[in-house]
């Protein structure tokens, strides 16, 4: 299945892109996306301790299963205001 993954702020900077399409196996979870990204950004798991992820504009946990067409985002600690 295909999902869109979006990168903001420091994630965007680290990865050098704002978003991408990712092809994942059926029943893939958010953890699979982190694993995939770890290859090019080894510190991501450590960084994930303070970061969050979202699926379709809602915060979600690492084990959340994905579906075709989902919009995922990596969300560094927010600093609005």
């Amino acid at each position: 299945m295909k999902v869109t993954v979006k990168y903001f702020a420091v994630c965007h900077e680290e990865l050098g892109r704002e978003e991408e399409q990712m092809e994942l196996p059926e029943e893939a979870t958010l953890r699979d996306i982190l694993d995939r990204l770890e290859e090019e950004w080894p510190e991501i798991t450590e960084f994930y301790q303070v970061m969050q992820m979202s699926v379709n504009w809602e915060y979600a946990t690492e084990g959340t299963q994905l579906s075709e067409g989902d919009e995922v985002a990596l969300i560094p600690p927010v600093t609005g205001g």
Binding site: K6, T61, A73, P76, V78, G80, G81
Partner: protein
């Protein structure tokens, strides 16, 4: 009204969004860009947002305020892009029949915004350096309610 905008925030419009003939009080908060952080001179700020999720999260804060205080006239607007010193980066307005609820609810809206609304601030210093701003302690103190079981 819960909105991300890349234009100068019209604060009167945020007030107008909550005005009602049965409200006796409007508490209105403006966040403005300071010319320094801890004494170091700031040139300007840049804000980035995950706009559709940010608007959804602000609307959810509105629902929380309705549940906690029974107030349903809440507006939040946050700017993105380059924001100059002294300009408004965020405006919140809450109308209420009584002022003390309005103060509490407006403060709550800002506290929650800094916890859950996906917006990021980049500081461009006068000395030429720039960096993503560190999160407010409230972000880590609060129950964010989404990561503890699995995060």
């Amino acid at each position: 009204m819960f909105k991300i905008t890349d234009e100068v925030i019209d604060t009167q419009r945020v007030i107008s969004a909550v005005e009602a003939d049965n409200a006796g009080a409007i508490v209105h908060f403006l966040g403005t860009v300071r010319n320094n952080t801890g004494g170091r001179r700031t040139l300007y700020l840049e804000y980035e947002a995950y706009a559709p999720m940010a608007e959804k999260k602000m609307a959810e804060i509105g629902h929380e305020i309705r549940e906690k205080w029974g107030l349903d006239r809440v507006a939040m607007m946050h700017r993105v892009g380059r924001v100059e010193i002294g300009e408004v980066s965020v405006a919140v307005a809450v109308a209420s029949p009584h002022r003390s609820d309005g103060f509490e609810a407006c403060k709550y809206a800002m506290d929650r915004l800094k916890q859950v609304v996906p917006i990021w601030k980049r500081e461009i210093w006068e000395d030429g350096e720039e960096e993503w701003v560190k999160p407010d302690p409230v972000y880590f103190d609060a129950d964010r309610g989404v990561r503890t079981s699995d995060g």
